[in-house]
Symmetry: C2
Subunit: 283 residues, 2 copies
Protein backbone atom coordinates (compact mmCIF):
# COMPACT_ATOMS: atom_id res chain seq x y z
CA UNK A 1 0.00 0.00 0.00
CA UNK A 2 1.28 3.43 -0.86
CA UNK A 3 1.65 6.30 1.58
CA UNK A 4 -1.29 8.68 1.59
CA UNK A 5 -1.03 12.37 2.42
CA UNK A 6 -2.95 11.69 5.64
CA UNK A 7 -0.18 9.31 6.72
CA UNK A 8 2.28 12.21 7.09
CA UNK A 9 0.65 13.98 10.09
CA UNK A 10 -0.01 10.50 11.50
CA UNK A 11 3.73 9.72 11.36
CA UNK A 12 4.27 12.69 13.67
CA UNK A 13 1.54 11.43 16.01
CA UNK A 14 3.11 7.98 16.09
CA UNK A 15 6.53 9.47 16.75
CA UNK A 16 5.13 11.52 19.63
CA UNK A 17 3.39 8.53 21.17
CA UNK A 18 6.43 6.29 20.87
CA UNK A 19 8.84 8.98 22.10
CA UNK A 20 6.66 9.58 25.16
CA UNK A 21 6.66 5.85 25.79
CA UNK A 22 10.44 5.86 25.56
CA UNK A 23 11.30 8.89 27.69
CA UNK A 24 9.96 11.65 29.94
CA UNK A 25 12.54 14.11 28.63
CA UNK A 26 10.56 16.77 26.75
CA UNK A 27 13.67 18.00 24.94
CA UNK A 28 14.37 14.56 23.53
CA UNK A 29 10.73 14.15 22.51
CA UNK A 30 10.84 17.52 20.75
CA UNK A 31 14.03 16.45 18.98
CA UNK A 32 12.32 13.26 17.78
CA UNK A 33 9.47 15.33 16.32
CA UNK A 34 11.94 17.77 14.74
CA UNK A 35 13.88 14.94 13.10
CA UNK A 36 10.73 13.20 11.88
CA UNK A 37 9.50 16.55 10.54
CA UNK A 38 12.72 16.98 8.60
CA UNK A 39 12.30 13.46 7.28
CA UNK A 40 9.00 14.27 5.53
CA UNK A 41 10.54 15.63 2.28
CA UNK A 42 12.37 12.32 1.89
CA UNK A 43 9.18 10.26 2.21
CA UNK A 44 7.79 9.36 -1.19
CA UNK A 45 4.07 8.80 -1.55
CA UNK A 46 5.06 5.75 -3.59
CA UNK A 47 6.74 4.13 -0.59
CA UNK A 48 4.84 1.91 1.84
CA UNK A 49 4.01 3.29 5.32
CA UNK A 50 6.16 0.73 7.18
CA UNK A 51 9.23 2.00 5.28
CA UNK A 52 8.71 5.34 7.00
CA UNK A 53 7.59 3.70 10.23
CA UNK A 54 10.91 1.88 10.36
CA UNK A 55 12.91 5.10 10.05
CA UNK A 56 10.66 6.88 12.57
CA UNK A 57 11.01 4.23 15.25
CA UNK A 58 14.76 4.02 14.59
CA UNK A 59 14.89 7.77 15.34
CA UNK A 60 12.87 7.29 18.52
CA UNK A 61 15.26 4.58 19.69
CA UNK A 62 18.39 6.50 18.67
CA UNK A 63 17.39 9.82 20.25
CA UNK A 64 15.88 8.48 23.47
CA UNK A 65 18.41 5.66 23.89
CA UNK A 66 15.48 3.37 24.67
CA UNK A 67 15.47 0.51 22.17
CA UNK A 68 12.44 -1.32 23.54
CA UNK A 69 9.99 1.20 25.03
CA UNK A 70 7.07 -1.23 24.84
CA UNK A 71 8.90 -4.12 26.56
CA UNK A 72 6.78 -4.08 29.72
CA UNK A 73 3.54 -3.29 27.85
CA UNK A 74 4.17 -6.24 25.55
CA UNK A 75 4.92 -8.56 28.45
CA UNK A 76 1.73 -7.55 30.25
CA UNK A 77 -0.47 -7.90 27.17
CA UNK A 78 0.90 -11.40 26.58
CA UNK A 79 0.17 -12.30 30.20
CA UNK A 80 -3.35 -10.96 29.88
CA UNK A 81 -3.91 -12.85 26.63
CA UNK A 82 -2.54 -16.04 28.18
CA UNK A 83 -5.02 -15.74 31.04
CA UNK A 84 -7.77 -15.85 28.42
CA UNK A 85 -6.27 -18.81 26.53
CA UNK A 86 -8.49 -21.53 28.12
CA UNK A 87 -11.58 -19.38 27.56
CA UNK A 88 -10.68 -18.70 23.90
CA UNK A 89 -9.78 -22.33 23.31
CA UNK A 90 -13.13 -23.51 24.66
CA UNK A 91 -15.00 -21.05 22.42
CA UNK A 92 -13.23 -22.49 19.38
CA UNK A 93 -13.75 -26.11 20.47
CA UNK A 94 -17.48 -25.77 20.98
CA UNK A 95 -18.14 -23.74 17.81
CA UNK A 96 -19.78 -25.15 14.67
CA UNK A 97 -16.92 -24.06 12.45
CA UNK A 98 -13.72 -24.32 14.45
CA UNK A 99 -11.51 -22.91 11.69
CA UNK A 100 -13.64 -19.83 11.10
CA UNK A 101 -13.96 -19.19 14.83
CA UNK A 102 -10.19 -19.51 15.23
CA UNK A 103 -9.73 -17.02 12.36
CA UNK A 104 -12.08 -14.62 14.10
CA UNK A 105 -10.14 -15.14 17.31
CA UNK A 106 -6.88 -14.30 15.55
CA UNK A 107 -8.46 -11.10 14.22
CA UNK A 108 -9.76 -10.22 17.68
CA UNK A 109 -6.15 -10.44 18.87
CA UNK A 110 -5.21 -7.84 16.28
CA UNK A 111 -6.68 -5.07 18.47
CA UNK A 112 -3.67 -5.37 20.75
CA UNK A 113 -1.87 -2.56 19.06
CA UNK A 114 -0.40 0.35 20.94
CA UNK A 115 0.65 1.96 17.69
CA UNK A 116 -2.47 3.62 16.32
CA UNK A 117 -4.84 2.51 19.04
CA UNK A 118 -6.28 3.31 22.44
CA UNK A 119 -7.20 1.25 25.43
CA UNK A 120 -9.34 -1.81 24.90
CA UNK A 121 -10.84 -4.70 26.68
CA UNK A 122 -9.73 -8.04 25.33
CA UNK A 123 -12.69 -10.12 26.36
CA UNK A 124 -15.19 -7.61 25.04
CA UNK A 125 -13.24 -7.45 21.79
CA UNK A 126 -13.25 -11.23 21.46
CA UNK A 127 -17.00 -11.45 21.95
CA UNK A 128 -17.66 -8.59 19.51
CA UNK A 129 -15.36 -10.07 16.87
CA UNK A 130 -16.88 -13.54 17.12
CA UNK A 131 -20.34 -12.24 16.25
CA UNK A 132 -19.31 -9.57 13.73
CA UNK A 133 -19.86 -9.88 9.98
CA UNK A 134 -16.75 -9.89 7.82
CA UNK A 135 -16.51 -6.92 5.44
CA UNK A 136 -14.33 -9.05 3.16
CA UNK A 137 -14.30 -12.82 3.67
CA UNK A 138 -12.39 -15.06 1.26
CA UNK A 139 -12.97 -18.03 3.53
CA UNK A 140 -13.69 -20.62 0.84
CA UNK A 141 -10.55 -19.66 -1.04
CA UNK A 142 -8.64 -19.78 2.23
CA UNK A 143 -9.87 -23.30 2.97
CA UNK A 144 -8.96 -24.43 -0.57
CA UNK A 145 -5.47 -22.98 -0.24
CA UNK A 146 -5.03 -24.51 3.17
CA UNK A 147 -6.09 -27.95 1.93
CA UNK A 148 -3.63 -27.72 -0.96
CA UNK A 149 -0.72 -26.49 1.16
CA UNK A 150 1.91 -28.42 3.05
CA UNK A 151 3.80 -25.36 4.17
CA UNK A 152 2.13 -22.46 5.88
CA UNK A 153 4.03 -19.29 6.71
CA UNK A 154 2.25 -17.24 9.37
CA UNK A 155 3.51 -13.68 9.82
CA UNK A 156 2.76 -12.33 13.27
CA UNK A 157 2.03 -8.74 14.17
CA UNK A 158 1.83 -7.59 17.79
CA UNK A 159 2.89 -9.17 21.06
CA UNK A 160 -0.09 -10.52 23.00
CA UNK A 161 -1.74 -11.19 19.65
CA UNK A 162 0.63 -14.21 19.40
CA UNK A 163 -1.57 -16.03 21.91
CA UNK A 164 -4.54 -15.58 19.59
CA UNK A 165 -2.43 -16.63 16.60
CA UNK A 166 -1.42 -19.74 18.51
CA UNK A 167 -5.07 -20.76 18.75
CA UNK A 168 -5.52 -20.39 14.99
CA UNK A 169 -2.28 -22.30 14.31
CA UNK A 170 -3.39 -25.11 16.63
CA UNK A 171 -6.61 -25.28 14.61
CA UNK A 172 -4.99 -25.23 11.14
CA UNK A 173 -3.66 -28.77 11.57
CA UNK A 174 -0.70 -28.12 9.25
CA UNK A 175 3.01 -27.53 9.89
CA UNK A 176 3.37 -23.79 10.38
CA UNK A 177 6.33 -21.47 10.46
CA UNK A 178 5.62 -18.42 12.59
CA UNK A 179 7.64 -15.30 11.78
CA UNK A 180 8.25 -12.41 14.14
CA UNK A 181 10.15 -9.12 13.84
CA UNK A 182 13.93 -9.20 14.10
CA UNK A 183 14.11 -6.30 16.55
CA UNK A 184 11.69 -4.51 18.87
CA UNK A 185 9.56 -1.93 17.07
CA UNK A 186 6.49 -0.49 18.82
CA UNK A 187 4.65 -3.42 20.40
CA UNK A 188 5.32 -5.81 17.52
CA UNK A 189 6.08 -9.38 18.49
CA UNK A 190 9.69 -10.53 18.63
CA UNK A 191 11.06 -14.00 19.36
CA UNK A 192 10.83 -13.38 23.11
CA UNK A 193 7.12 -12.45 22.87
CA UNK A 194 6.26 -15.48 20.75
CA UNK A 195 8.02 -17.75 23.24
CA UNK A 196 6.17 -16.11 26.15
CA UNK A 197 2.92 -16.73 24.24
CA UNK A 198 3.64 -20.47 24.22
CA UNK A 199 4.40 -20.72 20.52
CA UNK A 200 7.33 -23.15 21.03
CA UNK A 201 6.22 -26.62 19.95
CA UNK A 202 3.12 -25.18 18.25
CA UNK A 203 4.93 -23.64 15.28
CA UNK A 204 8.48 -23.37 14.08
CA UNK A 205 9.60 -19.95 15.21
CA UNK A 206 11.70 -17.76 12.95
CA UNK A 207 12.71 -14.12 12.87
CA UNK A 208 11.95 -12.23 9.69
CA UNK A 209 14.92 -10.08 10.57
CA UNK A 210 13.11 -6.83 9.93
CA UNK A 211 13.10 -3.90 12.33
CA UNK A 212 10.14 -2.32 10.52
CA UNK A 213 6.56 -2.36 11.84
CA UNK A 214 5.60 -4.48 8.82
CA UNK A 215 7.27 -7.18 6.70
CA UNK A 216 9.42 -5.08 4.37
CA UNK A 217 11.00 -7.81 2.31
CA UNK A 218 14.18 -5.82 1.55
CA UNK A 219 14.87 -5.62 5.28
CA UNK A 220 14.25 -9.32 5.98
CA UNK A 221 16.95 -11.94 6.46
CA UNK A 222 17.82 -14.67 3.95
CA UNK A 223 16.20 -17.47 5.90
CA UNK A 224 12.87 -15.64 6.02
CA UNK A 225 13.02 -14.82 2.31
CA UNK A 226 13.63 -18.50 1.54
CA UNK A 227 10.61 -19.52 3.62
CA UNK A 228 8.56 -16.75 2.07
CA UNK A 229 9.48 -17.84 -1.47
CA UNK A 230 8.76 -21.50 -0.67
CA UNK A 231 5.51 -20.94 1.21
CA UNK A 232 2.37 -22.28 -0.47
CA UNK A 233 0.16 -20.29 1.83
CA UNK A 234 1.02 -17.17 3.76
CA UNK A 235 -1.14 -15.79 6.55
CA UNK A 236 -0.36 -12.15 7.20
CA UNK A 237 -1.63 -10.51 10.37
CA UNK A 238 -2.44 -6.87 10.88
CA UNK A 239 -2.19 -3.54 9.16
CA UNK A 240 1.60 -3.17 9.07
CA UNK A 241 2.10 -6.47 7.25
CA UNK A 242 -0.77 -5.64 4.90
CA UNK A 243 0.78 -2.26 4.09
CA UNK A 244 4.11 -3.92 3.34
CA UNK A 245 2.83 -6.96 1.38
CA UNK A 246 -0.46 -5.91 -0.23
CA UNK A 247 0.95 -5.76 -3.77
CA UNK A 248 2.92 -9.03 -3.57
CA UNK A 249 2.00 -11.72 -6.09
CA UNK A 250 1.84 -14.60 -3.65
CA UNK A 251 -0.92 -16.64 -2.05
CA UNK A 252 -1.26 -14.37 0.94
CA UNK A 253 -4.33 -14.09 3.10
CA UNK A 254 -4.53 -10.93 5.13
CA UNK A 255 -6.27 -11.13 8.48
CA UNK A 256 -6.88 -7.78 10.05
CA UNK A 257 -9.19 -5.34 11.65
CA UNK A 258 -9.24 -1.95 9.90
CA UNK A 259 -8.19 0.39 12.68
CA UNK A 260 -6.84 3.26 10.60
CA UNK A 261 -9.27 5.31 8.47
CA UNK A 262 -6.82 5.44 5.57
CA UNK A 263 -6.38 1.67 5.35
CA UNK A 264 -10.14 1.29 5.71
CA UNK A 265 -10.68 3.68 2.80
CA UNK A 266 -7.96 1.99 0.74
CA UNK A 267 -9.84 -1.30 1.15
CA UNK A 268 -13.26 0.28 0.63
CA UNK A 269 -14.23 -0.42 4.24
CA UNK A 270 -15.17 1.35 7.43
CA UNK A 271 -13.00 1.61 10.52
CA UNK A 272 -13.67 -1.38 12.76
CA UNK A 273 -14.44 -3.77 9.88
CA UNK A 274 -12.82 -7.20 9.99
CA UNK A 275 -11.20 -8.78 6.97
CA UNK A 276 -10.01 -12.13 5.65
CA UNK A 277 -8.71 -11.10 2.26
CA UNK A 278 -6.65 -12.88 -0.35
CA UNK A 279 -3.91 -10.83 -2.03
CA UNK A 280 -4.89 -9.64 -5.48
CA UNK A 281 -3.16 -11.18 -8.53
CA UNK A 282 -1.91 -14.02 -6.38
CA UNK A 283 0.39 -16.41 -8.20
Amino acid sequence: MKTYLDCLPCFLHQALRAARMATDDEKKIKLVLDEVGMMLPTISLESTPPESGRRIYQKVHEITGNFDPYKEVKKRSTEEALSLYPYMKSLVEKSDDRLLTAIRMAIAGNVIDFGPNKAFDMKEEIEATLSKDFAICHYDRFKDSLNRSDKVLYIGDNAGECVFDRILIETLDKPVTYAVRGKPVINDATMEDARQAGMVGVAELISSGTDAPGTLLNTCNEEFIRRYDDAELIISKGQGNFEALSTQKKTIFFLLKAKCPIIAKHLGLNVGNIVLKEAEMSA
Copy 2:
Protein backbone atom coordinates in the same frame (compact mmCIF):
# COMPACT_ATOMS: atom_id res chain seq x y z
CA MET B 1 -0.22 30.03 25.74
CA LYS B 2 2.89 28.07 24.92
CA THR B 3 3.16 25.41 22.25
CA TYR B 4 2.71 21.89 23.55
CA LEU B 5 4.33 18.82 22.00
CA ASP B 6 0.88 17.70 20.84
CA CYS B 7 0.58 20.90 18.81
CA LEU B 8 3.33 19.75 16.43
CA PRO B 9 1.49 16.83 14.77
CA CYS B 10 -1.60 19.03 14.79
CA PHE B 11 0.25 21.70 12.79
CA LEU B 12 0.73 19.07 10.08
CA HIS B 13 -2.96 18.17 10.22
CA GLN B 14 -3.93 21.83 9.90
CA ALA B 15 -1.52 22.30 7.00
CA LEU B 16 -3.00 19.27 5.24
CA ARG B 17 -6.56 20.48 5.71
CA ALA B 18 -5.79 24.01 4.55
CA ALA B 19 -3.70 22.84 1.59
CA ARG B 20 -6.51 20.55 0.47
CA MET B 21 -8.89 23.47 0.75
CA ALA B 22 -6.53 25.55 -1.40
CA THR B 23 -5.70 23.06 -4.16
CA ASP B 24 -6.37 19.62 -5.63
CA ASP B 25 -2.76 19.25 -6.71
CA GLU B 26 -1.37 16.39 -4.61
CA LYS B 27 2.23 17.41 -5.36
CA LYS B 28 1.67 20.90 -4.00
CA ILE B 29 -0.07 19.50 -0.92
CA LYS B 30 2.86 17.16 -0.33
CA LEU B 31 5.24 20.10 -0.71
CA VAL B 32 3.27 22.05 1.92
CA LEU B 33 3.60 19.13 4.34
CA ASP B 34 7.31 18.78 3.54
CA GLU B 35 7.92 22.46 4.20
CA VAL B 36 5.90 22.46 7.41
CA GLY B 37 7.78 19.34 8.51
CA MET B 38 11.09 21.10 7.94
CA MET B 39 9.76 24.04 9.94
CA LEU B 40 9.33 21.96 13.11
CA PRO B 41 12.93 22.33 14.39
CA THR B 42 12.48 26.12 14.24
CA ILE B 43 9.31 26.03 16.36
CA SER B 44 10.10 26.73 20.00
CA LEU B 45 7.83 25.28 22.65
CA GLU B 46 8.02 28.75 24.24
CA SER B 47 6.30 30.35 21.23
CA THR B 48 2.52 30.65 20.99
CA PRO B 49 0.66 28.36 18.56
CA PRO B 50 -0.58 31.23 16.34
CA GLU B 51 3.04 32.22 15.66
CA SER B 52 3.48 28.84 13.99
CA GLY B 53 -0.01 28.94 12.52
CA ARG B 54 0.89 32.17 10.78
CA ARG B 55 3.97 30.64 9.14
CA ILE B 56 2.07 27.48 8.22
CA TYR B 57 -0.78 29.29 6.47
CA GLN B 58 1.71 31.59 4.76
CA LYS B 59 3.33 28.43 3.34
CA VAL B 60 -0.04 27.09 2.21
CA HIS B 61 -0.81 30.36 0.41
CA GLU B 62 2.68 30.66 -1.10
CA ILE B 63 2.90 27.08 -2.39
CA THR B 64 -0.66 26.70 -3.65
CA GLY B 65 -0.94 30.29 -4.95
CA ASN B 66 -4.36 30.44 -3.28
CA PHE B 67 -4.37 33.30 -0.79
CA ASP B 68 -7.96 32.90 0.39
CA PRO B 69 -8.96 29.24 0.24
CA TYR B 70 -11.86 29.72 2.66
CA LYS B 71 -13.39 32.70 0.82
CA GLU B 72 -16.53 30.88 -0.31
CA VAL B 73 -16.87 28.91 2.91
CA LYS B 74 -16.67 32.13 4.90
CA LYS B 75 -19.24 33.84 2.70
CA ARG B 76 -21.67 30.94 3.06
CA SER B 77 -21.27 30.69 6.83
CA THR B 78 -21.98 34.41 7.17
CA GLU B 79 -25.09 34.02 5.01
CA GLU B 80 -26.23 31.10 7.13
CA ALA B 81 -25.59 33.03 10.36
CA LEU B 82 -27.45 36.06 8.99
CA SER B 83 -30.48 33.90 8.24
CA LEU B 84 -30.55 33.07 11.96
CA TYR B 85 -30.12 36.69 13.09
CA PRO B 86 -33.83 37.40 13.79
CA TYR B 87 -34.16 34.11 15.66
CA MET B 88 -31.04 34.78 17.77
CA LYS B 89 -32.09 38.36 18.42
CA SER B 90 -35.50 37.26 19.69
CA LEU B 91 -33.92 34.70 22.03
CA VAL B 92 -31.80 37.46 23.57
CA GLU B 93 -34.70 39.92 23.80
CA LYS B 94 -37.02 37.56 25.60
CA SER B 95 -34.39 36.19 28.02
CA ASP B 96 -34.18 37.10 31.72
CA ASP B 97 -30.56 38.20 31.46
CA ARG B 98 -30.05 39.71 28.01
CA LEU B 99 -26.31 40.30 28.50
CA LEU B 100 -25.55 36.77 29.62
CA THR B 101 -27.69 35.29 26.83
CA ALA B 102 -25.88 37.47 24.30
CA ILE B 103 -22.54 36.28 25.69
CA ARG B 104 -23.69 32.70 25.31
CA MET B 105 -24.79 33.49 21.78
CA ALA B 106 -21.36 34.91 20.95
CA ILE B 107 -19.77 31.71 22.28
CA ALA B 108 -22.17 29.59 20.24
CA GLY B 109 -20.89 31.44 17.17
CA ASN B 110 -17.39 30.34 18.03
CA VAL B 111 -18.10 26.84 16.70
CA ILE B 112 -17.88 28.23 13.18
CA ASP B 113 -14.30 27.22 12.79
CA PHE B 114 -13.06 25.25 9.83
CA GLY B 115 -9.58 25.17 11.32
CA PRO B 116 -9.65 22.42 13.92
CA ASN B 117 -13.30 21.49 13.55
CA LYS B 118 -15.79 19.37 11.65
CA ALA B 119 -19.27 19.96 10.38
CA PHE B 120 -21.81 21.47 12.71
CA ASP B 121 -25.31 22.64 12.87
CA MET B 122 -25.66 26.26 13.91
CA LYS B 123 -29.12 26.16 15.37
CA GLU B 124 -28.43 23.04 17.37
CA GLU B 125 -25.24 24.62 18.65
CA ILE B 126 -27.06 27.78 19.69
CA GLU B 127 -29.67 25.85 21.65
CA ALA B 128 -27.04 23.65 23.31
CA THR B 129 -24.86 26.64 24.24
CA LEU B 130 -27.79 28.61 25.69
CA SER B 131 -28.57 25.88 28.20
CA LYS B 132 -25.01 24.78 28.95
CA ASP B 133 -23.21 25.51 32.23
CA PHE B 134 -20.08 27.61 32.00
CA ALA B 135 -16.91 25.79 33.05
CA ILE B 136 -15.37 29.17 33.90
CA CYS B 137 -17.67 32.18 34.28
CA HIS B 138 -16.29 35.53 35.42
CA TYR B 139 -19.59 37.18 34.63
CA ASP B 140 -19.77 39.48 37.67
CA ARG B 141 -16.26 40.77 37.00
CA PHE B 142 -17.20 41.21 33.35
CA LYS B 143 -20.27 43.29 34.25
CA ASP B 144 -18.17 45.42 36.64
CA SER B 145 -15.55 46.03 33.96
CA LEU B 146 -18.20 46.82 31.39
CA ASN B 147 -19.90 49.34 33.70
CA ARG B 148 -16.56 51.06 34.36
CA SER B 149 -15.51 51.15 30.70
CA ASP B 150 -16.15 53.76 28.05
CA LYS B 151 -14.09 52.01 25.40
CA VAL B 152 -14.55 48.39 24.52
CA LEU B 153 -12.24 46.63 22.08
CA TYR B 154 -13.82 43.47 20.73
CA ILE B 155 -11.44 41.12 18.87
CA GLY B 156 -13.27 38.90 16.41
CA ASP B 157 -12.34 35.38 15.44
CA ASN B 158 -14.05 33.58 12.55
CA ALA B 159 -16.27 34.77 9.71
CA GLY B 160 -19.91 33.89 10.32
CA GLU B 161 -19.19 34.26 14.03
CA CYS B 162 -19.25 38.03 13.40
CA VAL B 163 -23.06 37.86 13.20
CA PHE B 164 -23.15 36.37 16.69
CA ASP B 165 -20.64 38.97 17.91
CA ARG B 166 -22.89 41.67 16.47
CA ILE B 167 -25.71 40.53 18.72
CA LEU B 168 -23.49 40.75 21.80
CA ILE B 169 -22.19 44.18 20.75
CA GLU B 170 -25.77 45.42 20.22
CA THR B 171 -26.51 44.24 23.77
CA LEU B 172 -23.41 45.80 25.42
CA ASP B 173 -24.80 49.31 25.00
CA LYS B 174 -21.30 50.84 24.84
CA PRO B 175 -19.18 52.21 21.96
CA VAL B 176 -17.28 49.22 20.60
CA THR B 177 -14.35 48.89 18.26
CA TYR B 178 -14.44 45.57 16.42
CA ALA B 179 -11.09 44.25 15.18
CA VAL B 180 -10.63 41.71 12.41
CA ARG B 181 -7.56 40.09 10.82
CA GLY B 182 -5.57 42.12 8.31
CA LYS B 183 -5.40 39.33 5.73
CA PRO B 184 -7.28 36.09 5.07
CA VAL B 185 -6.05 33.20 7.23
CA ILE B 186 -8.14 30.01 7.47
CA ASN B 187 -11.74 31.12 7.97
CA ASP B 188 -10.88 34.04 10.26
CA ALA B 189 -12.93 37.19 9.78
CA THR B 190 -11.50 40.01 7.71
CA MET B 191 -13.02 43.45 7.03
CA GLU B 192 -15.10 42.03 4.18
CA ASP B 193 -16.63 39.36 6.42
CA ALA B 194 -17.46 41.81 9.21
CA ARG B 195 -19.17 44.11 6.68
CA GLN B 196 -21.15 41.19 5.25
CA ALA B 197 -22.22 40.33 8.81
CA GLY B 198 -23.79 43.80 9.16
CA MET B 199 -21.23 45.17 11.58
CA VAL B 200 -21.12 48.60 9.91
CA GLY B 201 -22.95 51.08 12.13
CA VAL B 202 -22.96 48.61 15.02
CA ALA B 203 -19.26 48.93 15.87
CA GLU B 204 -16.31 50.86 14.57
CA LEU B 205 -14.52 48.39 12.33
CA ILE B 206 -10.74 48.19 12.31
CA SER B 207 -8.16 45.77 11.02
CA SER B 208 -5.64 44.45 13.53
CA GLY B 209 -3.30 44.08 10.59
CA THR B 210 -2.24 40.59 11.52
CA ASP B 211 -2.13 37.67 9.10
CA ALA B 212 -1.92 35.18 11.96
CA PRO B 213 -4.83 33.02 13.15
CA GLY B 214 -4.71 34.89 16.48
CA THR B 215 -3.87 38.42 17.65
CA LEU B 216 -0.08 38.33 17.69
CA LEU B 217 0.66 41.84 18.86
CA ASN B 218 4.04 42.06 17.11
CA THR B 219 2.29 41.49 13.77
CA CYS B 220 -0.48 44.04 14.36
CA ASN B 221 -0.60 47.54 12.89
CA GLU B 222 0.00 50.76 14.82
CA GLU B 223 -3.64 51.77 14.90
CA PHE B 224 -4.69 48.50 16.47
CA ILE B 225 -1.90 48.66 19.05
CA ARG B 226 -3.05 52.18 20.00
CA ARG B 227 -6.64 50.98 20.46
CA TYR B 228 -5.41 47.94 22.33
CA ASP B 229 -3.31 50.04 24.72
CA ASP B 230 -6.16 52.49 25.28
CA ALA B 231 -8.92 49.92 25.72
CA GLU B 232 -10.45 49.71 29.18
CA LEU B 233 -12.09 46.42 28.38
CA ILE B 234 -11.09 43.89 25.74
CA ILE B 235 -13.31 41.05 24.65
CA SER B 236 -11.30 38.32 22.92
CA LYS B 237 -13.11 35.66 20.95
CA GLY B 238 -11.95 32.13 20.30
CA GLN B 239 -8.97 29.88 20.78
CA GLY B 240 -6.50 31.62 18.47
CA ASN B 241 -6.86 34.96 20.22
CA PHE B 242 -6.66 33.24 23.60
CA GLU B 243 -3.46 31.45 22.60
CA ALA B 244 -1.94 34.76 21.48
CA LEU B 245 -3.12 36.96 24.37
CA SER B 246 -3.51 34.68 27.41
CA THR B 247 -0.44 36.04 29.20
CA GLN B 248 -1.14 39.73 28.52
CA LYS B 249 -1.57 41.99 31.55
CA LYS B 250 -4.72 43.75 30.39
CA THR B 251 -8.40 43.64 31.26
CA ILE B 252 -9.21 40.97 28.72
CA PHE B 253 -12.17 38.66 28.90
CA PHE B 254 -11.83 35.52 26.81
CA LEU B 255 -15.00 34.07 25.34
CA LEU B 256 -14.52 30.68 23.83
CA LYS B 257 -15.56 27.13 23.51
CA ALA B 258 -12.70 24.67 24.18
CA LYS B 259 -12.52 22.74 20.93
CA CYS B 260 -8.93 21.53 21.12
CA PRO B 261 -7.96 18.98 23.82
CA ILE B 262 -4.69 20.79 24.52
CA ILE B 263 -6.32 24.16 25.18
CA ALA B 264 -8.94 22.39 27.28
CA LYS B 265 -6.21 20.73 29.36
CA HIS B 266 -4.27 23.99 29.63
CA LEU B 267 -7.39 25.62 31.13
CA GLY B 268 -8.21 22.61 33.29
CA LEU B 269 -11.36 21.92 31.25
CA ASN B 270 -12.91 19.31 29.02
CA VAL B 271 -13.37 19.62 25.28
CA GLY B 272 -16.74 21.26 24.58
CA ASN B 273 -16.70 23.39 27.74
CA ILE B 274 -17.66 27.05 27.39
CA VAL B 275 -15.72 29.83 29.03
CA LEU B 276 -16.01 33.50 29.99
CA LYS B 277 -12.62 34.02 31.59
CA GLU B 278 -10.77 37.12 32.69
CA ALA B 279 -7.05 37.24 31.88
CA GLU B 280 -4.89 36.46 34.89
CA MET B 281 -2.89 39.29 36.52
CA SER B 282 -4.95 41.84 34.62
CA ALA B 283 -3.75 45.41 35.09
